[in-house]
């Protein structure tokens, strides 16, 4: 056994037989299950990820509650609530939570490109679609969890606030449970869409810009459109299409809840498809 100096200084480090095995490694395989466990380790071991999710949750619930309080503070607000859709009013904060999910989804892959970790990942598992698919699954599960907690918290607190002004809404009412669970799904698919963009573009700033543009800037153009166009086009915009899932009443010129959400899922599928395809054929 030889010894060597530790670059940090201090006592020499023993250098045992380089294999350094306490017991021989049996036959192993690089599997999808292994990739899933690896991605779970990656996602839970970086503080930035944790804080992004905390922000997503706090912002969604916080804004939802503030808007709910604001709504019931005026007589007209309470009347609007009575005539309109109290469930979606209680989930107003989702617009902010979405933003955090765009960041979360993109960073899950662009952080690996930014640090160079992607080359280490693709060396350990050279089948790149296995790595990406495992990332997508773990990311979706985490986003869904955060989304559901945000959604139920926002709704239940909002319903309490509304009940104080005599507007009653509960999970047992028609479509309400679907809308509240839909909030979780909306967040999960938003993260997935952003992940697809991130895989395609590889750069954090570019991917977040693209995600924010697609989700939040596109709807701005609707105000410049002639009326007839607007009615035909607006429902296809990602945020509008996906947003139907968190409402309990149909809006004019918009898709129904599940059709709209299906359109939104389609956007995510296209982004993922492009991301996977480019990742597979490019040099890492």
């Amino acid at each position: 056994m030889t010894t060597a100096t530790h670059p940090l200084g201090g006592p020499p480090v023993p250098v045992p037989a380089p294999g350094g095995m306490t017991a021989p490694l049996g036959p192993v395989r690089a599997t999808f299950g292994g990739a899933l466990r690896s991605e779970w380790t990656k996602i839970r071991s970086v503080r930035a990820t944790f804080w992004t999710l905390v922000v997503a949750l706090a912002a969604t619930v916080g804004v939802s509650v503030l808007v709910s309080i604001g709504t019931v503070s005026s007589k007209s607000g309470v009347q609007d609530l009575r005539d309109g859709d109290p469930t979606s009013s209680a989930l107003t904060g989702f617009i902010v939570g979405m933003l955090a999910m765009v960041v979360f989804g993109a960073m899950a892959i662009t952080a690996e490109y930014g640090t160079g970790m992607i080359r280490t990942s693709f060396t350990a598992q050279p089948r790149r679609s296995t790595v990406l698919a495992a990332k997508a699954v773990v990311l979706t599960a985490v986003a869904l969890f955060v989304g559901l907690v945000s959604s139920f918290a926002s709704f239940l607190i909002g319903a309490q606030i509304f009940a104080g002004k005599g507007v009653h809404v509960s999970l047992g009412d028609p479509h309400v449970l679907r809308a509240v669970i839909g909030g979780g799904l909306f967040m999960a698919v938003t993260a997935l869409l952003s992940f697809g963009l991130g895989a395609a573009l590889r750069h954090t700033a570019g991917s977040i810009t693209a995600g924010v543009g697609l989700m939040f800037l596109l709807p701005v153009f609707q105000s410049f459109m002639p009326g007839a166009w607007r009615d035909a086009v607006v429902r296809w915009m990602p945020l509008n299409a996906g947003g139907n899932i968190i409402t309990t009443k149909n809006t004019e010129h918009m898709f129904t809840a599940w059709t709209g959400f299906g359109v939104f899922v389609l956007y995510a599928v296209v982004a993922l498809g492009v991301g996977f395809w480019l990742t597979d054929r490019r040099d890492a």
Binding site: L8, V15, E39, R119, A284
Partner: protein, 314 residues
């Protein structure tokens, strides 16, 4: 191990636009020895290594590890351990979690993480963020990752870059021990002096092209001529004598004669027979550095100024 080739490149070519980074490389890397992969900066070493690992796709040609493309390996980490870029890690993750995430991809047992940490002397800093690591520690972490799967093939790209002498010695010994165990060790460097102490076999490239593929000994013999330094109080007579015997003789500034074309023993015998006193007779073998510079003289990619030594890192 049957001693057959482990890494096998055939006509490997990588083109970026109209520039060939790697140009028709054919070579094999065998187990049980340290194979040095040498070339000036920009010669295509890293690109070649990335193609071996499937990170970059060759424009043409093939490269296999254990007889098949690396990307088709059942357990890639069992076959090849690679240190391509020690900084290619997420700095926010601890050394332990970094290694754990890698081990999990190949379903390697968790205990293996502790073993490689111990092996590279990182146990005490395992829970610290790797972003705060010194260059040497980062390099150790990269080596720990490469060893996770106890692979038969190890590839290191410029492993001693930026390390202090202790770190360099540590890595050098480590590579020699790994090769001694029958593993295949393929290590790149732009420093000939480094390879002289580490490698048994050399693959030299310049501008993406193969310049030499031979043992270190053979490399020196082929690329340099042996000369003999001779000191004598009667240089004039000695020069005439040796020239008659067919040698080429140069007189150095300090009066020492540099003799080429005659063996040291022959020079001594000739001088003795002629009664010429000789005070010093020393064979001189060119260093690997000199041979390397000779070989890649026209291959240095970025000729910033006329000083070769700077470019080759001497």
């Amino acid at each position: 191990m049957d001693g057959g080739p482990v890494i096998e490149a055939r006509g490997l070519t990588k083109r970026y636009g109209d520039k060939k980074a790697v140009d028709d490389l054919t070579f094999t890397v065998r187990p049980g020895v340290v194979t040095g992969f040498l070339g000036p900066n920009g010669a295509g070493k890293s690109t070649t290594m990335r193609m071996i690992l499937g990170l970059d796709a060759p424009t043409s040609g093939t490269v296999t590890v254990n007889g098949r493309p690396y990307v088709t390996a059942v357990a890639p980490m069992r076959e090849v351990g690679a240190l391509i870029d020690a900084k290619a890690i997420h700095g926010g993750r601890s050394a332990y979690n970094h290694l754990l995430a890698l081990a999990q991809t190949n379903n390697l047992p968790r205990r293996r993480v502790g073993e490689v940490l111990e092996l590279t002397g990182l146990t005490q800093v395992a829970k610290k963020r790797s972003g705060g690591f010194s260059l040497g520690m980062g390099q150790r972490l990269g080596i720990a990752a490469a060893l996770l799967g106890d692979p038969q093939v190890l590839m290191f790209d410029e492993p001693v870059n930026g390390l202090d002498p202790d770190g360099i010695r540590w890595i050098r010994e480590f590579m020699r021990t790994l090769a001694g165990e029958g593993r295949t060790v393929f290590v790149s460097s732009h420093l000939m002096s480094e390879m002289e102490h580490t490698a048994d076999h050399l693959i030299v490239i310049g501008r993406g092209r193969l310049q030499a593929d031979m043992s270190v000994k053979e490399f020196i013999t082929r690329n340099s001529e042996q000369s003999v330094s001779v000191r004598s109080p009667e240089p004039g007579s000695l020069i005439r004598l040796l020239a008659t015997a067919g040698a080429r003789v140069e007189t150095q500034r300090d009066g020492v004669l540099t003799v080429r074309g005659l063996e040291p023993a022959r020079i001594g015998d000739l001088a003795f027979d002629a009664g010429i006193r000789v005070h010093e007779l020393a064979p001189h073998q060119a260093s690997l550095e000199e041979a390397f510079m000779e070989l890649t003289r026209d291959q240095v990619e970025y000729r910033a100024n006329s000083d070769h030594n700077e470019l080759i890192g001497a």
